[in-house]
Subunit: 312 residues, 2 copies
Amino acid sequence: MTIGIDMMGGDYAPLEAVKGVQQYLASHSIPSSLVLIGDKTAIEKLLDEHELASAYVQVVHAEQVIDMHEHPTKALKEKQQSSIAIGFHLLASGKMDAFISAGNTGAMLVGALFSIKVLEGVIRPAISTIVPKADGGTGLLLDVGLNADCKPEQLNQFAIMGSVYAQLILEIENPKVGLINVGEEEGKGNILAQAAYPLLKENKHINFIGNIEGRDVLTGKADVMVCEGFTGNVILKMAESLFEIGQAKKIKDEFFERFNFENYGGTPVLGVSKPVIIGHGISGAKAFMNMIKLAQTMIKKNVMQKMNEELS
Amino acid sequence: MTIGIDMMGGDYAPLEAVKGVQQYLASHSIPSSLVLIGDKTAIEKLLDEHELASAYVQVVHAEQVIDMHEHPTKALKEKQQSSIAIGFHLLASGKMDAFISAGNTGAMLVGALFSIKVLEGVIRPAISTIVPKADGGTGLLLDVGLNADCKPEQLNQFAIMGSVYAQLILEIENPKVGLINVGEEEGKGNILAQAAYPLLKENKHINFIGNIEGRDVLTGKADVMVCEGFTGNVILKMAESLFEIGQAKKIKDEFFERFNFENYGGTPVLGVSKPVIIGHGISGAKAFMNMIKLAQTMIKKNVMQKMNEELS
């Protein structure tokens, strides 16, 4: 099992990525093989400093970096020697089984969409986020930004992909799927939600519990929450701001601490054939470690294959 | 100035409505005239018990009540003697200047849409909500549910109506208008947001500051936040749930207390010719008092007329 990491992505690259690798290796007696992609000199210097010579770690040089604000498609095309472009090349050619980056989100999405295959029948991949629930549980919300406009059938696919992820990664048995909407009753909502409801209702691959509302997002009514990427992105960023507000107001409550994205590491792209995990730009060591662990679990549990089965 | 109140609407009717009237009268030496609509016997008994004989209070009997879960259009049509139907009749015929209810939201919306006129040029009215901001300020979000699908021009009208409301009622000078979106840059978003942006940018009646994201909703970047009613409704209900979560977790912070809808009372319907204020089903005395005060201020400050001017 080989996991690739873009060492140049994120605001604290490559130091925090190296520290994350260190934390990962320290906590695993038989780790996965790691391919660290980026400026070889800088990375090897940091590996030395952190005494990280390991048979499980290999450095692949990338002489370019895609900056956070570059145009994704243009940058990927023009910077073939960037850490992200090389990462996707290694992933697509089978030299790696998963790829992680906290770099340019758009470039990671474009790379995931065009370098590796989407699962058969998937209209468009989605990105998801973990949502801490007030009851202590954990929910999954998708799409959170890859598909600002959706067709009803896409929401139906998100429900399947989310259910598989919730089962295998969040370890929720028979996860309850809710359609994010403006009211509880069938027939409520915008045109999209009205059209998606019957598809979800008839979908034998999921445990659909009906519509859920904004007030249910943080309270645990559903395990998998489905919506188009516009609403999902607004919810995601509003939830993230709760952690910051809680910090700023010095609210000492474990619930708010759980909105700290570092606990989860990154956002997997769902609907593609291999694990691609996108980290937050401000990812620190803990986030990197958790992304490596997530990639490892996704590979071990055959998440993509299971999705493929359920989707077909 | 005459303000009508549906005494039969809400979970604690008519007692909490009577208590709200009492609080209102106690805090105003020269109050507005109040028309209390509902079961005359029950209301007069409560008025006696609360020693509320007042020249400013008149009771209008309504022998029917529209329940919370009745179908709005059907109920309004069939229950012509309900407190909501009578209220809109009195409002439309000029016997009242504003109408308040914590009853069936759908019936209130249908009544507002079809009994009284929309302002000239308004495609569809909208409902708004106050959003407490972490910096202590107050924002306005609209639409929060009346228009689950919108055309770009509607968002442009929401921006104007919201700006007038923010100026006159929230007393924010030159309110900053933000378009809720998935990214900051122009060109981001779903088809609707992409099309609305240039309209807002060229709108001379508002102070447009560009796109705002989910993380900006609670932090005060914009004073008036514009979106279609689907996303707005999800945001509203998610924000409301914060108050409940804060209560349940015994988080003592003034910010969370401010999400208590009772502080604001109700949601005005914007874009119609007279103030119509819809309260929460669980409105208590304080909410009723605040709705009466809001109706009074909206009449005094000619909010509807000002909107009419800015929209044309």
